[in-house]
Symmetry: C2
DNA sequence: TTGTAAGCGTTATCAT
DNA sequence: ATGATAACGCTTACAA
C-alpha cells in the first residue's frame, strides 16, 4: 500500500535502519557511497515518502504547532493564519489549525490536546470573555507551551497583544476635531466591559468630555455584517437623536452600519462619521473608504512565534507579555471636509 | 509527561489492553462494571487524553482528511473550508488543510502525501491551469482517494464543480437587456482560455452578437483587489472607448474595478455596469451592491465529501463527475434603471 | 473477564 | 559500514 523504509530495505537486502540513516541524511551518517546511492535511487523509484505520523509519534520533536481559533470565516483570522503559517513553515514546523465554536470551546480544546503538539498559539480574546480560559489551562495532564494572541487582558503566562491606547484616543480626538460630539460605540453585547480596552478608553473619554455615551448593541442576523446592518437600521428608526460618529469594534460591523446609513440616505461622513477596526483590505474600496484602527498583525505573529519557540526550548524563562501599538488609519469615512 | 494507557494500567494493576478496551468503549467490550468504572475514573483523574498520532499510526483508519488549497486569504477558500470542516467533523473525521503557493504546488503536494490521509479534497481549479495537475496525480507510490472541487474541467476521476452555463448567459443577456453592448471580461492573465468555462461562454456570446471582445488583464499589485484597481485605473487612462459593462471573474476583482471607476467619477451602473462572481458576503454592502454569480458552495461541499467517503469505502465504483449550477444574483451594480 | 503479544513506520542506541 | 533491537502510544487478535 504505502512504501516504507522496510520495503526499500527488503528490495535491496539491507536493514531498514541503514535506509533510515541515509534518507534522513544526517551528515555524520557513516554509509558507503555505493549503498547511499542505491538507497536514494530505489527510494525515489518506489515513490517513498516518509510517514509524518510515524515521525511525530517517534519522539521528542513532533514538529507540530497547534493554532486554536474561533470558527467562522471572518477575514481577520485567516489573515493571521496566513502569516503564522509562513513563519512556522519557514522554521521547519507544521501548523495545524483547530477551530472552535463559541459553544464548544472546551471540547475543541480537548480535541487539540490529543495531538502531540510542541506548542500552541491561542486566539484567546474570545475565549476569556466568560472566564473559560482559565479553566482551559487547568486541565489535568500535560499541556504543551501556550502563547496567547490578541488579548491584552490574557491570563496566560505568555501573550502578544495589541495596545489600542494611543490609536483609540487619536481616533476619538479626530472625531472631536472634526466637530463630531455624539460618538457611539458599536459592538457585540459581550464587549461592553471594562476589560475591553477600546471600550474602557471610549468610556473614559466620553465621560471626561461630558458627552453622553451611546452604546449600539450588534445582535441578531446571520453574519456579523448583517447583524450590524439590522441593528443599525433599527437604531435609525427608533432613536430620536442619532449619533454623529460611530466607532465599530471591527470592520465587518462598520460595513454593516455603513450600509444601513446609506440605505436610509444618511450621508457618510457628512452626517455620520464611521470608523472600524482591523483594517481588513476590502474596506479601503468603499465609496467612502473606511477609517479604521490598523493592527501590526504581521509583527504580532512574528513575536508570538518567537516567544513560543523560546518557551519550547527553555520552559523556565520569565513570562513574555508583549503589547504592540495599533495605529490610526484615517480615510474618507470620518473626514469632515470630504464632500459626500 | 503525557498520561498514557500504560500508566493508567500500572496505576490500577491491570494490563493496558483492558484499559484500551474500556476507553474505546466498543459496545461489545467484555469488561466487568467494576473495572470499567475504576478505569474511567482514574483516566479522568489522571487527565488522560488519547494520543491522536498513535491512533492514526496504528492502522487502517487514520480518520484524517486532507484539503489541498491555494494559500492566501481570499474569502472564498475559507468559506469552503468552513463548510467542509463541519461536514467532516460531523462524520467523526478530522480535516487538515494544506496550502500551496502558486510556485510550489508540487512540493506542497508531496508534503501532504506524507500524512496518513484517508482521502483528499483538492481545489484543483488553480492547479490545472499549467497542466501540473496531471503530474501531481501520477506520482509513484500510493495516493489516497482524491476528489476535486470547483474545476469543471478537472482531470481527476472524481470531482464536483460548478456549471456556469445558465448563470453566465443570463448575466450577459441581462447586460444586453440593460442596453450595455461593450461588455468586457476582467480576470487574471491565465484565465483567458477556452478551458475556462465562463470565458468560453463570454467569447461565444460576444461573437454571436457581433460585439467586440474586451479583455482586461488583472495584474500587478499586492492583493487581488489592488491589482484590479490598478489595472482598471490604467485602463481608464489609456482606453479610447470604455466598456460599458464589466464581468469580473471574482468579487475581489469586481471590488477593485468598482473602486477605480468611482475614483474617476464613472457612474456605476449609470455609465458602467459591473458584475462579479462568488457572492462573497461583503459585496452586498457597497453603495451599489454588486451583481454576482452565486455558487452553491454548501451543496458542493456536501456532495464532494459524500463522494470522497464512497470512494474511500468502495474504491471501484464508477467515477463521479458532478456539476452544480451557479445562479445569477442581480443587484444594483448592473441595473440600468437604478439611479446613481 | 482479563492478559499477552504483535504491529503501525519511524528514529536511535547499541552491537558487530 | 551495517544490522539487530527497542521504543513512541495505541489497537486488536488471540490466549488464558
Amino acid at each position: 500500500m504505502r512504501v516504507t523504509i522496510k520495503e526499500i530495505a527488503k528490495e535491496l537486502g539491507l536493514s531498514h535502519s541503514t535506509v533510515s540513516r541515509v534518507l534522513n541524511d544526517r551528515q555524520n551518517a557513516l554509509v558507503s557511497d555505493t549503498t547511499r546511492d542505491r538507497i536514494v535511487a530505489t527510494a525515489h523509484n518506489m515513490g517513498y515518502r516518509p510517514n509524518r505520523i510515524a515521525q511525530a509519534l517517534k519522539g521528542d520533536h513532533s514538529g507540530l504547532i497547534g493554532v486554536f481559533m474561533p470558527e467562522g470565516h471572518e477575514y481577520f483570522f485567516n489573515e493571521v493564519l496566513f502569516h503564522l503559517r509562513r513563519l512556522i513553515e519557514r522554521d521547519e514546523h507544521e501548523l495545524i489549525p483547530f477551530t472552535c465554536s463559541d459553544l464548544q470551546v472546551e471540547s475543541s480544546w480537548l480535541k487539540l490536546l490529543r495531538w502531540d503538539l510542541e506548542g500552541i498559539l491561542v486566539f484567546d480574546y474570545l475565549l476569556f470573555v466568560d472566564g473559560l480560559g482559565q479553566a482551559l489551562m487547568h486541565h489535568r495532564g500535560f499541556v504543551p507551551p501556550v502563547v496567547g494572541l490578541f488579548n491584552s487582558t490574557s491570563q496566560l503566562d505568555d501573550f502578544v497583544a495589541i495596545d489600542f491606547n494611543t490609536a483609540m484616543k487619536s481616533l476619538l480626538n479626530h472625531f472631536v476635531d472634526g466637530g463630531y460630539h455624539r460618538i457611539a460605540y458599536a459592538a457585540a453585547p459581550g464587549s461592553f466591559q471594562p476589560v475591553e480596552q477600546r471600550f474602557a478608553i471610549y468610556s473614559e473619554f466620553v465621560q471626561r468630555l461630558a458627552m453622553r455615551p451611546i452604546h449600539i448593541h450588534i445582535k441578531g442576523g446571520t453574519t456579523l455584517c448583517e447583524s450590524a446592518r439590522l441593528s443599525a437600521l433599527s437604531l435609525l428608526s427608533n432613536m430620536p437623536e442619532l449619533p454623529d460618529a460611530i466607532f465599530c469594534q471591527n470592520d465587518e460591523i462598520a460595513l454593516g452600519v455603513y450600509r444601513a446609513l446609506r440605505e436610509r440616505n444618511v450621508a457618510v461622513p457628512g452626517e455620520v462619521a464611521i470608523a472600524g477596526c482591523d483594517n481588513i483590505p476590502f474596506m479601503a474600496y468603499l465609496d467612502q473608504p473606511l477609517t479604521t484602527l490598523t493592527l501590526p498583525v504581521q509583527e504580532a505573529c512574528k513575536i508570538a512565534w518567537e516567544t513560543l519557540q523560546h518557551r519550547i526550548s527553555s520552559p523556565d524563562q520569565p513570562h513574555v507579555k508583549r503589547l504592540l501599538e495599533a495605529s490610526l488609519t484615517i480615510r474618507a469615512s470620518s473626514r469632515r471636509t470630504v464632500s459626500d
